[in-house]
Symmetry: C2
Amino acid sequence: MGSSPESRAVGQPAGGGRNRSRPPTLREVASAAQLDISTVSRALRPETRDRVKPETVKRVLATAEALGYRANPFARGLKVQRSMTIGMLVPDLGNPLFPPIVRGIEDGLRDRGYAMILGNTDQDLGREENLLDVFLQRRVDGLVLATALRSYPLLQNLVDGGVPVVLVNRTTDEAPMSMVAGDDHQGVGLAVRHLADLGHQRIAFVGAALSASTGFNRYHYFRAWMHALGLEVDEELIVFAPWFTKDAGAEATKELVGRGRPFTAIVAASDMIALGCYRGLRAHGLHVPDDVSVVGYNGSRWCDEFDPPLTSIHVPKYQIGRETARLLLNMLDTADTSPASVLLPTSLQVRASTRQV
Amino acid sequence: MGSSPESRAVGQPAGGGRNRSRPPTLREVASAAQLDISTVSRALRPETRDRVKPETVKRVLATAEALGYRANPFARGLKVQRSMTIGMLVPDLGNPLFPPIVRGIEDGLRDRGYAMILGNTDQDLGREENLLDVFLQRRVDGLVLATALRSYPLLQNLVDGGVPVVLVNRTTDEAPMSMVAGDDHQGVGLAVRHLADLGHQRIAFVGAALSASTGFNRYHYFRAWMHALGLEVDEELIVFAPWFTKDAGAEATKELVGRGRPFTAIVAASDMIALGCYRGLRAHGLHVPDDVSVVGYNGSRWCDEFDPPLTSIHVPKYQIGRETARLLLNMLDTADTSPASVLLPTSLQVRASTRQV
DNA sequence: TTGAAAGCGCTAACAC
DNA sequence: GTGTTAGCGCTTTCAA
């Protein structure tokens, strides 16, 4: 018994071969039931079932069941030109923001017989184009795009091509399109007001990724809410990280502190950025929340475990997914591609990273 | 621009915004190129391309490109009986263990033209059966099962049916099947030895989900390694949580502490369980790592952020996904379903939750 | 090297 | 209510 640094292959006795005999066809069910193929087809499909005598239906169902019949989706797809499949693009499934959204979409689609194929773009436009091409080739019935770039000409082509598209967590400047997201305006308002209520006046903003619509929006809404609440927006108290990462957040925070302008609180553009703030502040000997309060954004599932537990704006990720599925199904059903947008309300989760000034 | 006898939608910019109403067919490419449909088919597919005169190939490629032609996957699937799609079942994509694995599989499959459809079972056997049915109906070419139950009769049916299956993070008692996972034996060894090296002798084990193969294995390997390292296994120092959750881990830990047997360290069956240990210990006024050292398992991306940062056994999740794809592709290529198992080595990540006794 | 033709399994328009 | 039939777009013999 010993541990091996190498990956080890555990050989196992070779077992059964492959006897994937061709699954039964409609024709086989028909001949087994002594009926014509078309009658069987009608009996099998709920929409046309009422055109067949009930007893016949019963007989068909029985034989189909007995033979383990399953409609061949290729043959059907070839005929009806629908794949019952939708394609989804995310920057990276490893980003904890996306799994709950994907899950919500899956759940919403599943009951209606749709399946989803997923692609990761890694923020690479070439890859995105490429995946879109694969999806289109596979004749997906609809598309969900959760990739975050604000500017993206291909979008218009898609819409022109008549493919139903729903954007998630992203708006586009190019074309009016359906989209679902958390309400960033309301959410940022929650954050700023929470700090204001705690008596904070000099509030900094550590933003990220202005090229992404979430990053862009949250920044502007921050300004708007500061004004709305009668608080001064000090340009020196606004910094940006290039990405939504901890390292980037830490760097931006150090820059902020280095400017030497007094502040008592930070609104961070995401939880990852907030963790970066923790580190950046700590590097300057500042303590959260005694010296500086920090509010994160997204409400990731680990906020409770952070040190200190992070006050955050919770985004209803799963619900966003469900809503996306609903919108898409609606477009699929009605062939109506007129855009509709849904913003879901966020909520404030108060934890230990914020305190009275 | 030659005029073709076949009616073609006019005003469609080539290669740009294609209209979905009617994607060009092989026949249309053929008539545009003044060739027979079969020649075009041959020219378009790399495998048969060498049977066509190079100039002809060039001409075909050009017209196909110009028309924005894409092979219809239904028609092809109908002919060749392959969907180029694989199905994957996970308990819950929201569990952070799975996204990186899914991502790894996706990446491994994508280059070879395969797409993946995903299903969440929520540990519900009925749902699992149901999803399997949907996958089979869609004629998936292969299956990846990351659902964790040890006992599962349907598995044998699948193998008998000739569908290539790879298990992830799970073994089965029923049939010899291909599987990929982290090397739990080696990993648990890393954890126990790390603690032993720090001078710990009375080491507790907070396990979870014996019905899952990971839970089961880690428990037994814990015992094995304790013996191997000459440490006493005190049955009173072994507790189990029903699930891999923080709450369950906290309860189990309170139970452990309540037993009153002295111990200085805990090996937890997962990071979530470890977080439960933190809470359970804290509830009894015990401090990590001063009173008790804790080692987690999985190496989730947030370990650094916990309070204290969690020493953990890192499982190469993305690599597991890649390896799974490799195995599956191999089965797909060779039509050889003889099982092969791969255990990938884990690594110890030392953080602040463990210290010298 | 290219063309003709036979389906793959299903749906739907049309007959009976 | 049930049967007949013509494709959907592609691959793949078999001929030329």
